[in-house]
């Protein structure tokens, strides 16, 4: 046996989670009837040899042997010192057994603990601030998944998003949602040159892909994964999903440190002009993630993945009836900022597709154009000026023609495609058409 004063792992096996084995709430069965092999006559005490009596000590200590056996053991203890000693010891050990208590770790504790550590010893390879939301959101989702039971992994979930002109949805399960997150995160892995694809997905993804040109996008990859699995996904998907999230954070941190100058995050405090993030010309700023029919710079992609992780964690939490909070305000702010910066391009794309009216006037790139002021209220909120005429135009307060004010959670639901543009509860002021088109563009940020 191992030294008593150490915490040893007794073998290399994988212990099952205690919570799945113990079920404190279930009724206790009746006390066991006398075993058929044990004679029940009180007049004939059981005679057992020492070897058998010794082997019964554990069962005896747990009151898990027949009354006759218990009697025989107790009689033996009066005459055998070593057995008596062991019996006492095992009886005491029984007192240490108790049902596992469900443990709810405060998800915010992670941030506090890690920050405390990094203050004491600054990291040589930090996790960039624009990766922090993804790191935190994946950890929060993982903590939620830790708590859910086997059957809950198959709870139905309806993925919802906004497609061109209306809300659409697709049915899957909790495990299916996680597979979806894993497959779309895989696009970032691909951009980083990581070998992430299970072969079956690679194969079916390309043949079944519907993305125009390019490689399979989020929906194609997800559908390919679902199609390729013979059985619906189970909780087994948690491990590869989590491993990939860890690998992404790690790799991006290295990638960010490898540029000649590792640029600090360029997101202002709500003063985004819609002209795109200030990317460096080297290092991670050069990398972009191919989503099939559009691309995002790596750092925006990590924010996008953080946002989607939160949104789908919310879907999962709803499906299994757990509460789930929004991200930390400063992380939320980065997500709102990304959405605001993406709006002008999304608006332009809707115009090209004939889904929005043409620009009122042509504005030379770099010149000020008509502007909508987007005000996101509540935690993580801020104000953004959205260029209406073209992504190349400069948004400016002097050219403001409309104003939208809405709560952060509402804005998130809109950008996630969980509510239709006309359902968004918002304060609206100014040019009706501009407002309508920006709300539609916000909903169009969503996808499967």
């Amino acid at each position: 046996m191992n030294g008593p004063d150490r915490f040893e792992s007794y073998n290399g096996r994988i212990p099952a989670p205690r919570s799945s084995v113990e079920d404190g709430g279930q009724p206790l069965p009746d006390p066991s009837p006398p075993a058929p092999s044990a004679p029940t006559t009180a007049s004939a005490p059981l005679v057992l040899e020492h070897r058998v009596l010794k082997s019964l000590l554990g069962a005896w200590a747990l009151s898990a042997c027949s009354p006759e056996e218990a009697e025989a053991v107790e009689a033996h203890l009066g005459t055998c010192g070593p057995c008596a000693e062991e019996a006492l010891r095992l009886r005491d050990a029984v007192g240490l057994l108790h049902p596992a208590e469900p443990l709810d770790l405060d998800p915010m504790l992670r941030t506090r603990v890690l920050e405390g550590c990094l203050d004491r010893r600054p990291p040589r390879i930090p996790v960039p601030e624009w990766v922090a939301p993804y790191d935190a959101e994946t950890a929060r989702l993982d903590a939620l998944l830790q708590d859910i039971g086997d059957s809950e992994w198959h709870a139905p979930v309806r993925l919802r998003w906004f497609d061109r002109d209306g809300l659409v949805s697709r049915k899957t399960t909790v495990a299916g949602v996680l597979a979806h997150l894993m497959m779309v995160d895989g696009l970032v892995a691909l951009a980083l040159g990581l070998d992430e694809l299970p072969p079956m997905v690679e194969a079916s993804g390309h043949t079944g892909g519907e993305a125009s040109g390019g490689r399979p996008g989020p929906a194609e990859r997800t559908e390919a994964y679902w199609r390729a699995s013979h059985r619906p996904p189970t909780r087994a998907v948690r491990r590869p999903w989590r491993d990939q999230t860890h690998t992404l954070v790690r790799t991006v941190a290295f990638e960010a440190g490898s540029g000649p100058e590792a640029p600090a995050i360029a997101l202002g405090s709500g003063s985004g002009s819609g002209s795109g993030s200030a990317e460096g010309s080297r290092g991670p700023g050069r990398l972009s993630v191919d989503y099939g029919n559009f691309e995002l710079p790596l750092r925006d992609s990590m924010l996008d993945r953080a946002f989607e992780c939160w949104v789908h964690a919310g879907d999962i939490a709803d499906a299994v009836d757990y509460p789930y909070d929004p991200p930390a305000p400063r992380h939320l702010h980065h997500m709102f900022d990304l959405a605001a910066r993406l709006l002008p391009k999304t608006l332009a794309a809707r115009r090209r597709a004939g889904l929005a009216s043409p620009p009122r006037r042509l504005v030379a790139a770099g010149s000020p154009g008509r502007t909508l002021r987007l005000e996101v209220e509540g935690a993580g909120g801020g104000e953004w000026l959205i260029s209406l005429d073209s992504p190349g135009a400069v948004a400016s307060a002097e050219h403001e023609v409309a104003h939208i004010a809405l709560d952060g959670v509402e804005f998130s639901r809109l950008a996630a495609g969980h509510i239709a543009p006309h359902e968004a509860v918002a304060g609206l002021d100014g040019d009706r058409e501009a407002i309508r088109e920006v709300l539609f563009a916000a909903a169009s940020l969503s996808r499967m």
């Binding site: 046996m1 008593p4 004063d5 150490r6 915490f7 040893e8 073998n11 290399g12 096996r13 994988i14 212990p15 099952a16 989670p17 205690r18 113990e22 404190g24 206790l28 069965p29 006390p31 066991s32 082997s55 000590l57 554990g58 069962a59 200590a61 747990l62 898990a64 042997c65 010891r89 095992l90 005491d92 050990a93 029984v94 240490l96 057994l97 049902p99 443990l103 770790l105 992670r110 506090r112 603990v113 890690l114 405390g116 550590c117 990094l118 004491r120 010893r121 600054p122 990291p123 040589r124 390879i125 996790v127 993982d142 830790q146 491990r239 989590r242 860890h246 954070v249 790690r250 941190a253």
Partner: protein, 192 residues
Amino acid sequence: MAKEAPPRWDRTMQQRLARGEAAALGELYDRFASLVHGLAHRVLDDEGDADRITREVFTHIWENPETFDPKQGPLRSWVATLTHRLAVQRLRQTEAAALARDGSGTTEDLERKVRRASAAARADYIVTNMPAPLRAALELAYFQRRDYRQAAADLGVTADEARRRLRLGLQLLSTAHDNSTSGAPPGHGRTW
């Protein structure tokens, strides 16, 4: 998901921590936070105290990754030993302070309390990490009130084997009582 990590994972983690990789610290937390917090809570029975110990444990590892020696055993048991030591230390401190403040109780009471809390935490760890067949047998006998013959039938083993597992499981568990008075169990046979 308390997966037993292979030694290679332990070594790589140690190297990454030594290198100052913040992402490694996050992964370390993700793997061990519930173990650390759970043990600390078992000893101290207080959410805030358990949070504080969790912070101390990870700070210690982040600042001194070289003090872990993979040759002495898995990282998991080292983390548990460290947690246990710090938690018992704190319990002793707070109890001693309370004793000095209002003089209720005796030093023996204090020692008994520390001993009990310490053993309870150790027992938790032992149960979670003992071989699954032993744990399954104990769970049937204790929580489901099955006698050893019924447990044998449930597990598909002989009655002899069921008796053996119950006895061995309790023997392992009983080591939680050993040496739990010192408050500073020497993990990995050395001091930190």
